[in-house]
């Protein structure tokens, strides 16, 4: 039973409403439910970040699991003066980098990646407006595929910064911490990534 100083039992709803620091503190105090709240809060964000970075959905999901296992094991080492989200993204970023490094050494993984991408194409799209006309639906799918391909074509360092900023909405400072770069490098990479993205996607938009 977990209790606060002022009131009685902390409900799951209260945990859900609490900020990350409070949830982390609850977990460290022994409340296992707090960990589930962290998983609920970050599983989708981390999945998208890793997936956009490595381009393999199944592997991305495995890596998200690995992130949470590491968080569970090492949360006692987390510096509470920092943001939990930055720490979690840092773990995810390192795992994604390792995956890309391993993939470059092992061509078989590349093949697996292509296979899973094809499978992914067969899955129903999420957040689709099913009332749209078929040509609108086709156009949406085409645009989505185009954007994903364009992101995948960015060089690794630029892609990671681009995904963190444009898709995850992280601040420059957070990106610097997650990627272990200085602020100037982050801005420079972001500038190059944005220009490259625009240059790569533009011909596809004319089709």
């Amino acid at each position: 039973m977990k209790r606060t100083a002022q009131q009685g039992v902390v409900t799951r709803e209260q945990l859900r409403a609490a900020d990350d620091a409070a949830v982390v503190a609850s977990f460290l105090a022994g409340d296992e439910r707090a960990f589930a709240v962290l998983v609920e809060r970050y599983q989708t964000r981390l999945l998208n970040f890793i997936y956009r970075t490595i381009g393999d959905r199944e592997k991305a999901e495995d890596l998200v699991q690995e992130v949470f296992i590491r968080v569970y094991r090492h949360l006692h080492r987390f510096d509470p003066s920092k943001k939990f989200s930055t720490w979690a993204y840092t773990i995810a970023s390192n795992l994604a980098k390792n995956e890309l490094r391993n993939r470059s050494r092992n061509p078989l993984v590349l093949f697996q990646t292509l296979s899973s991408r094809n499978e992914d194409d067969d899955r129903p799209l999420q957040f689709e407006d099913t009332t749209s006309r078929p040509d609108d639906l086709y156009r949406k799918r085409h645009l989505r595929a185009l954007v994903e391909e364009t992101v995948a074509q960015l060089p690794e360092h630029h892609r990671q910064v681009f995904v963190l900023r444009e898709l995850e909405g992280k601040s420059y400072e957070e990106i610097a911490e997650i990627t272990d770069c200085n602020l100037g490098t982050v801005k420079s990479r972001l500038n190059r990534a944005r220009n490259a993205f625009a240059a790569i996607i533009e011909p596809g938009l004319r089709e």
Partner: protein, 172 residues
């Protein structure tokens, strides 16, 4: 503002992080430079598309799989004490360090401290101001008193010098 400066500040410009005056200068450059204006439009259009990319979700069995893996972790560490593993590890390290220290002490019995031998050398002999033969001669023939006074005053030093010159009996 020139194109180079515009490019340098473009990231902050797109994110609206520039101070008001610099934002105005960037706007002004865009109106004057069609090349930078085209690039700015292309970047903004690309970002607009990227930001509308739909989010993907974890599969239905994600939580079940994670829970299964967490069970394995919990079996390694008491669930109610997620930091217990680290504590146990630290305690083990301290115990090992203490044991190692004690073992080292046990293997090496305390030995008497051996210092480097002290080497004593014979001090350089100061020449005696009085020659032995001259002194003896002066006594017998009644020389003036002052050499005799000097001889009495320095007799101790003179005798000590003689002792140092001769090897001691123990050396034989």
């Amino acid at each position: 503002m020139d194109c180079r400066r515009f490019t340098e500040h473009h990231v902050a410009y797109v994110d609206s992080f520039l101070p008001h005056l610099e934002m105005e200068a960037m706007h002004a450059h865009l109106r004057a430079c069609p090349r930078c204006a085209r690039r700015d439009t292309a970047v903004r259009r690309g970002l607009m598309l990227a930001r509308t990319l739909p989010s993907i979700r974890t599969s239905d069995d994600f939580m079940a799989r994670l829970e299964s893996r967490l069970q394995d972790v919990r079996s390694e560490t008491p669930a109610h004490l997620p930091w217990a593993g680290a504590f146990a590890g630290a305690a083990t390290c301290v115990a090992l360090a203490v044991y190692a220290l004690l073992s080292l002490r046990g293997q090496r019995p305390l030995e008497p401290l051996r210092l480097a031998p002290v080497v004593a050398s014979v001090p350089e002999q100061q020449p005696s101001p009085i020659a032995n033969a001259a002194l003896l001669a002066s006594v017998g023939v009644g020389m003036p008193v002052w050499p005799a006074v000097m001889a009495v005053g320095q007799a101790q030093m003179h005798l000590a010098n003689l002792e140092l010159q001769q090897p001691s009996a123990g050396d034989h």
